[in-house]
Symmetry: D2
Subunit: 345 residues, 4 copies
């Protein structure tokens, strides 16, 4: 850490700062400039709390020199991680193609949609059985019945399944059925839930919160990693913006910015990011061009009957067309779309 | 609802829209303008899903005419609600003055701080026993031991206590000790947690999420209300902004904007909103001037030793000075700071 | 326009609204719903001021049905416009590749950089002679001397030149030297300047302001178009965001969102959008994948000596590598990078 | 400045950094920590360009220790400045109460409104003769005729007048009529215009841009100050936010945050900040409670006939009521509303 003292810091304050640092078993290196005094702290930074340092009288700014996410950092693991979701690889040049409806609905529809996205080239099937809805009066998902349908459909078409978990009490149940656990944007800082999914061995799809910085996202990943679960895939799904022309603001630069800091894979979700079917294909392609390790798209065969989020789903035909373009783009960048696993775990 | 059709909507699409509306037992009222066709829907709007309507081909925009938060709306309850927290009233001209440290720490310190804020005029004591921390390596709170200290301190000084609950599995436990349950900003859309606190009879302090619109905030309040718990106090604590000069962006206009839509009380939290002790007093006063029903301030007697959020706490002396000014301001606006209860519930 | 009246609108207010509308020679179509009354306005919407309608007592919301940008809208011109910059085409499948340093510096350096970007495949050369700097003490550009260097370099390498104009008094002077006039992000709503560039016949590169919605951007384009200059190219260059990890927030979805509303071409500027050389290539590629009609990149052969914005420039070698990838991507999407003109105008 | 080097910075890079710093006649003070190397620069920081330093290979972050706004800083002028607008004082405990319509309209209406706001207690009269409108088709103001009406009305009621200037070519003309020149939010970074108003001797009302940080605002003030005009009053008028419930986001914390950095007065404009008449009074009061040196409110006697911005104006009666409350609040905080001048300059 580096402490920049206030321009009016008194000698007593400087002494107090140094005393404080040394009381923690660290060394303080004083540098008096023309206008400001700087205290460099030498030793194990992890012993220090940025907040406490900032509370010391006379301290103006605290500049950390190490990332606070240790396990997620490139320093800890310089090579890109490859996350294996029951045989489908994400990261390190392998693309995960997640597709399916927002909510799990009746089994027939699920079969139809799964078949269509698999034929188009998706390698992971998604659907929500527990839905975090802004309205208490909206459809909340089919619960365990939905999980059963998902599992059955995944098995039938040979696709690992991804589904959201919203309640720490349900993590074990959901992990019984699903191949990958999704933590939604609204729960990105639900640390209780992060801790629970970190205690399972299932890969986790961690969506970026709408007001989360990239550092916040990596800190949330660190929660999962610190519990012993190394299989985290990040997902950029749009952050809060001021223009209502799109539902959220697709932060495509987050893809390379994340890759400059962490070994974890990151995919994009243009469905939630834009909320507009006509913008999903261009943003999906933009995500791959920016280096994303996969794309998450909602697909529904009759959006006007969808139990949730119909307006942001592609039709199966549209997805098929998009998948073709994504494959071409992947090839151009020498990446491969992971094949379906031989057999599901 | 009003549907605005796309300028290129075909006659078939218009017919399909009308059919769809009528299939739901509602009436469609068609209005063909020079450039656009409008479909007004007459009947019980609550049967309709805005999302599904927006998914119908040919529909460009859906304009709801009723607020989706029914119980929270002024239509449902035109007079301001007064929430009673074990004898301390918030709302309808009564101000709740919440003060205390970020985290519950050792009992001695809690006693000292509680005594000082009570003497200054605070009527509710706060402290976190379960802390949602961005880092898994940071102090996570004392848990039930912290709740016990809080209860003891509250009893000693005659102040009802407010504390955060972060885990649906702990709601019952926390409700056993606390007079008011806080749902933090990061959990504002943790619908599982909202549902659980809605099932208790404890008043709930619901903090606005960092990317939550006012409508989002009211929808989250609706979750609590819809479970049968009418005692919700909202809290503006700063939203995400682009200027790093303050920790968050204090949206003081949210106070009157909320009051134009709901009967629920709303207080302000200038500690989290600004993250800077020097800005807490002016923003606290601004909140009262804007009509807030109370002020939440973090107070610590040695910020550099605080286990969390030291940099945003006032010293007891500073709080005393602020409390005096808040009292004068309240009088000017003919409001009263609720007295401490005769005896705690 | 559609007026949604307040739920408590009185009959007198409804009558007043209708009277007002009819006084403007338009017809009002009343539709009383269960909860709200709606007034559809039939006739020439362009006579109406949204603001005035919103000021009528009893009116809750005003929903326009026509875009307020007439000339820029797809309704006015359904095919994509192709803007010709002294022989280089932008739009309609033709990509403009703008490259060069932030500021015009000494002639030797300009020659070196121009040669390198031309050899890499750029077809337009940029450099600022009048620099809008946040600090009055920073380098403000070489002025007319800079324009002369630019012109000379453009002529030498056969590249049309693009340069910023910041002062309405200089528009004529700049137009004398430059092939394309840039209006910078900070001047996107400098309507006086927009009007002046609209009076020239030079193509205009209009950068999106940091807090401009897409509608705002199109309204600013409309200023130029309404003066008789149809040659406007829009540019997404990052908007204001809350994460300081990038300088601005690159809104790649703006590219297809703009194309859904206007015939004008839109390019991307990943240099300003990200402010980080390592993020320029992935974001440039993302822009093309999203459908952009060109890419604007700052290139400097010694960023640490650049008179402005060094940290967001690519080195010539890096640009060459990126240009190769952009060309491949363009081919995949069946677009062409416009060749250099035979001779400059 | 302090340079934090990248963790992988090589010895050669460190040497190059030091060489660079010394070549500028400054001293570099090296501090090798456990994880990072820090270079403190000792000497006259104003010789350094943050951008160039950040471009040096191996440099990760540049932390300035001095504010880049020299004349605007508290260091340069520790006491609050009092700006005298033809006899009306703003700052240092004196409140400026600016009121009037958005646009100058017919003389009769101007007289009526001026009389009403003067009687209510306003001490400065405003109205726009040159209007920056987002639409080229909207009313653009009466121009010099409007200035004449304003001057006449100001003289009649003894109120100095404030009006916007948008074009550097008009600055002299506007300064001939007006007592105070307003630079609007959209022109806050129109550096050409700032330079021109800085060359006049008229006080300047500088509105904060919608995406301007407080540092940006102070840098723009510095433009005016650096030209020799010390009379700048800042104005918080709402920044861009994500919630459409208000037109902009009123950043009341900007008031004390600005005061912690500069001696210049700052007022608030709740009309533009909220765009809703019902929110103007609470936000005006919040502004004063937060320490603002004045309040700018739009007042119109028939908003539905206003030529611009009707929806954000108060009626004269509403302003009178608000002015009474503002006066009481000012007294509570021991401030005074400046009296009208004996005679206008």
């Amino acid at each position: 850490m580096i402490l920049i003292l206030q321009s009016k810091a008194t000698d007593d304050q400087v002494d107090h700062v140094i005393e404080k640092v040394e009381s923690l078993g660290l060394k303080a290196h004083l540098s008096r400039g023309t206008y400001r005094t700087i205290v460099g702290i030498i030793g194990d930074e992890s012993k220090l709390s940025e907040e406490r340092l900032r509370s010391i009288p006379g301290v103006s700014e605290v500049v950390p020199v190490l990332p606070p996410y240790k396990l997620a950092s490139l320093e800890a693991h310089p090579e890109p991680s490859v996350v294996n979701v029951s045989g489908v690889q994400i990261g390190g040049g392998h693309l995960g193609m997640i597709a399916g409806p927002c909510s799990v609905e009746d089994a027939d529809r699920m079969h139809r949609i799964a078949k269509s996205v698999r034929d188009a080239g998706a390698n992971l099937f998604r659907g929500g059985a527990y839905k975090p809805r802004t309205s208490p009066y909206a459809f909340q998902g089919l619960g365990e019945d939905g999980l059963k349908i998902l599992r059955e459909v995944g098995d039938e078409y040979g696709m690992p399944i991804v589904t959201e978990v919203t309640d720490p009490r349900n993590v074990e149940l959901v992990a019984k059925y699903a191949d990958m656990l999704q933590v939604g944007a609204r729960n990105m800082q639900n640390f209780v839930l992060l801790t629970e999914v970190g205690r399972t061995s299932r890969p986790v799809l961690l969506k970026r919160g709408m007001s989360a910085t990239i550092k916040d996202l990596l800190m949330s990943a660190e929660y999962v990693l610190s519990q012993g679960n190394p299989n985290v895939v990040l997902c950029e799904r749009g952050i809060k913006g001021f223009d209502t022309i799109t539902r959220n603001l697709f932060d495509v630069a987050a893809v390379p910015a994340v890759k400059a800091l962490t070994h974890l894979p990151i995919i994009v979700d243009p469905s939630h990011a834009t909320g507009r079917p006509d913008l999903i294909p261009p943003c999906a392609l933009a995500g791959i061009a920016a280096g994303a390790d996969g794309v998450h798209v909602e697909v529904h065969d009759c959006p006007e009957e969808a139990k949730s989020d119909g307006p942001q789903a592609l039709l199966p035909d549209q997805y098929q067309e998009l998948a073709k373009q994504m494959r071409q783009l992947a090839e151009l960048f020498q990446k491969t779309i992971s094949p379906l696993p031989e057999a599901l775990a």
